[in-house]
Amino acid sequence: MSSPEELTSGAYISHHLTNWQVSIGDHWFMVLNVDTLLWSITLGIVFLASFRSVAKKSTVGVPGKFQCAVEMIVEFVNRSVKETFHGKNDLIGPLALTIFMWILLMNMMDWVPVDWIGKIAEFIGGFMGVDPSHVYMKPVPTTDLNLTFALAFGVFFLIIFYSIKIKGVGGFIKELTTQPFGHPLLYPVNFVLETVTLLARPLSLALRLFGNLYAGELIFILIAMMGLFQLPIHFMWAVFHLLVIPLQAFIFMMLTIVYLSLAHEDH
């Protein structure tokens, strides 16, 4: 918003909801959302670096304050995993922790007032000789479908991988076809039903996270256009996100654990 008079509110909103895109090929698919990649990878590294720094000097003795905080999160995730998942799998704990912390950090970008990072980006872009109205910066990566689907497909891949690993290809196909109806004539119906159920898992994971955060961000943008009244309303909406942000991270983590424990169940 370099010159507010020129921008309508619709343009303002769409400007805030447009990704910084860089084309890397001729095909329509060959486009990278640089802001999503930048923020998500930065936050992922923030998460891993801080936890790694604790892991490196973690002592059995009296822990420091930061170690305590990190251990509380790890302990919380570990308890969630142990309550739901009863098999033995070294991947599921770190997977749940990564999902929870990464989504939490990315969702927390929602709290940064919508114009701050955009303005800084516009300033830097202007400094580098780019028209500020063409600088796009969406700092909440979870409002990008590419990221939520990447996470959901990752989980989906693991569901398929462990289903086949534990039950074998035959067992997996049997599971898809012999339920819920026992009669062989109804196996095709079963297959359709079970496939839809299976595919609905990543779809619902991705769309739930995206929908919640996208809507939240949209409301933040709308509030940002309200003039002076935005301050208390923004505060209230941010307080509400105190609930939404960790809840969405937790739901994504919990459903991942549940889906993977279902994949491990051998009938």
Partner: protein, 156 residues
């Protein structure tokens, strides 16, 4: 909000993050937590054991103190008895010694007196003989009349 190659980039990032977390982050932190839990468990058990031991030791100490007190009282009692006994014995022996010494003294005195008496008798008889000699002046032979004289001495 269209799907594009970012999907692949994010997928790669996601798997890399999970892999790194699984290799380098999760195991050491969880290990530290579990080790500390064990340590705390051990510490609690040890403190409970220590408390029990302390209670036991206290009971033992009280019992020993009591025993020691009764023993001490016994010893003191015995010592008192022995002391009175000793005093009694010594007093008795002292008395006996005194009696003995006194009896000895008496006999010695008696003997001295007898000797003195003897001496006196002898001297008196000699004097009597000398007197008789002087009275008779003559023919009296001491040897002839010695039996008379001895009789006289015993009579003295």
């Amino acid at each position: 909000m269209d799907i594009n190659a970012t999907l692949i980039g994010e997928s790669i990032a996601f798997f890399f993050f999970v892999f790194f977390c699984m290799k380098k982050v999760w195991p050491p932190i969880l290990h530290a937590i579990e080790a500390r839990q064990q340590e705390i468990e051990k510490g609690l058990a040890a403190s409970e054991q220590g408390e029990k031991d302390l209670e036991l030791a206290r009971e033992k100490a009280t019992a020993q103190l009591k025993e020691a007190k009764t023993q001490a009282a016994e010893i003191i009692d015995q010592a008192k008895k022995r002391a009175t006994q000793l005093v009694d014995e010594e007093t008795k022996r002292g008395h006996e010694e005194r009696e003995k010494i006194m009896a000895q003294g008496h006999t010695e005195i008696e003997a001295e007196r007898n000797r003195a008496k003897e001496d006196l008798r002898k001297q008196v008889s000699a004097l009597a003989v000398m007197g008789a000699e002087k009275i008779l002046e003559r023919q009296i032979d001491a040897a002839i009349h010695s039996d008379i004289l001895d009789k006289l001495v015993t009579e003295l």
